[in-house]
Symmetry: C2
Subunit: 361 residues, 2 copies
């Protein structure tokens, strides 16, 4: 649990004794324990799963019995959430939290996550608080070797989905039919269900419209497709986007736009390096694409890890410095009424002197 050790170091820096991590992404970052998220908050949980990390490197986990025992050298208390009897999930949860606080001897200053720390848990904790979010986000942005392996695996799974996408994009199928065929390919590869973010939009109008969700629209030959696939594998997200035309190569205008977007992604791969500021990198990508007459109204990308969007987001006003072993999504695109939409997205790992694509497709 190298990340727990890193968090212990962070606590010393920010003057706190304990981290009380209540976000599913932070819990997984600290311990590797994967909180199931696919149906939202579990009806068998009495509150958020919690990872406790001390300044000395002690680690505790409180989770419902439905996802206990994933293994790891932490103290674990699981509570009855699912049972063949009347079950007081909230009472059981709070008793487990109390037991863990006593067992670990949680005292002093606690660093917490305000988006998810519940009032019921806060009432059990010592009163002196720090907010851990920003320093933790910065710590999480730099990936360990273990995390890079996990992210590479997620990138490879996403790439498998992307390679399946043109084959699965058969005229007459709905967008949702195709997305689920691709999902089947990725999940069978992983061997378990994966939470999946992303989109699959087909047709000139739909592919050029941001903010739509995949629907019952049935593919026609010649439809441009934007296929954005982000599966969660062992708690770490992969992300990716490809753009293609159903059963063909598209018009000359489409191909020119694709070349410009893919070229911008290639530029990103050659430009990305430690020591560059995010805003400079973002500006170079936008300028390169603009010089060819195209433009995207969204971010240039984002960090990724145990959350599908992490700090730093690649936006024009982010002044953070790019560092070695950040893993960044880069996703230039163009959306033109009457022509269609294109977005090209790889996972890029920042290396000592440059960057590498974690998977290509």
């Amino acid at each position: 649990m190298e990340n727990a050790t890193r968090i212990a170091g962070l606590l010393a820096e920010i003057g706190a004794d304990w981290a009380i991590l209540t976000g599913a992404d932070s819990v997984c970052f600290a311990t590797g324990h994967v909180v199931p998220v696919e149906i939202g908050f579990s009806p068998f949980a009495g509150g958020p799963t919690i990872a406790f990390v001390s300044r000395d490197g002690a680690v505790g986990l409180v989770c419902p019995n439905t996802d206990a025992g994933q293994g790891g050298p932490w103290e674990e208390i699981s509570y009855p959430g699912f049972a063949c009897a009347v079950t007081d999930q909230i009472g059981n949860y709070l008793r487990a939290v109390q037991d863990m606080i006593a067992r670990l001897g949680v005292a002093g200053r606690v660093a917490v996550e305000p988006a998810s720390l519940t009032a019921a848990v806060a009432d059990l904790l010592p009163g002196e608080r720090r907010v851990i979010d920003r320093p933790l986000a910065r710590l999480r942005a730099i990936k360990t070797a273990r995390e890079i392996n996990l992210l590479r695996r997620a990138a490879v799974v996403a790439a498998m989905g992307q390679r399946e996408a043109p084959t699965a994009s058969i005229p007459g199928r709905s967008e949702l039919d195709v997305l689920n065929a691709i999902r089947a390919r990725m999940e069978t590869e992983v061997g378990v269900r994966c939470a999946l973010a992303g989109e699959y939009l087909a047709g000139v109008e739909r592919s050029a419209t941001l903010g739509l969700a995949p629907g019952a629209y049935r593919l026609r030959p010649g439809d441009p497709v934007v296929c954005d696939l982000a599966p969660r594998v062992q708690g770490y997200w992969g992300d990716s986007c490809s753009s293609f035309v159903v059963g063909g190569e598209g018009t000359a205008a489409y191909r020119a736009m694709h070349d410009a977007c893919f070229g911008t992604l290639q530029l990103a791969l050659s430009e990305l390096r430690p020591g560059l500021r995010v805003c400079e990198f973002d500006a170079r990508l936008r300028a390169h694409l603009k010089s060819q007459g195209y433009y995207y109204p969204h971010h240039s990308g984002h960090g990724i890890g145990t959350s599908v969007h992490e700090w730093p987001r690649l936006v024009p006003d982010e002044t953070a410095m790019i560092e070695e072993n950040m893993v960044l999504m880069v996703e230039p695109g163009s959306y033109v009424p009457g022509l269609g939409g294109i977005r090209c997205e790889f996972m890029l790992r920042v290396t000592r002197a440059g960057a590498e694509a974690m998977a290509m497709f």
Copy 2:
């Protein structure tokens, strides 16, 4: 928003002035606003989406801009969660909550949900608290006409998935391939992606083992299958389970076990009625199945609505009275090493004098 009016009545009963609902299921119950859950807690949210309901029937909603404007006669404040700029989601969220508290004039006693009320929100609320969970669970158990229509729709979608299941269960496909083919059928019918709980397990050993997740196992002719499908449609869950044999009818022993389980489900349909206690109903089902030599170690079923498992759970020690317009899942099963697993599950609506299946397959 009939349910908001019902909650207002509940507040009067429990001596509270405001309900502060922070569970995604409670928010949907009160307002109809659907919180996306498929990838867990949104990276663009600064805290849980909140529905405010007053004793006078005033309703407010605070949600991120990513899922704002679903429409409804409530006061809505959405905050920037996703933007092409550096964004302080938590700060924006807490300002929106504060604005809503001021706009609605939240004061007096507040009734809260301890599993999800965050400390950051609690700090903004009046200090006098009630816990709303148990009375709200009891209120939610009795469905309105609108909710019954929504649950019937979800039941019909699940039934479509169930009818697709034997056709999709082709030898050589993995469990996850089949589950996603079924999911495609249901989602294309609905027109958008649906959160999906449940399982699909094939083979004598896997179908007879509780607690497994669908995996890469590839179907063989003659495999028994347990197919449990629970899609969320417009915020309301459907649930269902069928059991069948890949490409055939199964052995005589399998068919006898199937008859016993399905017969127990039929018994449930004829026995379920208002005025019966849950524990009596549960005991009758277990006794009927036991008289034929079979047994299940899990609950007999559960309530369903904006959460896939709701009060009352059908367990031996639940003394609650069954009431008209409860919607209950009933799922007798049997799991025999060497023979396989079977579970048969319908959604049953309690009527004035009996019960009806909301969909059959």
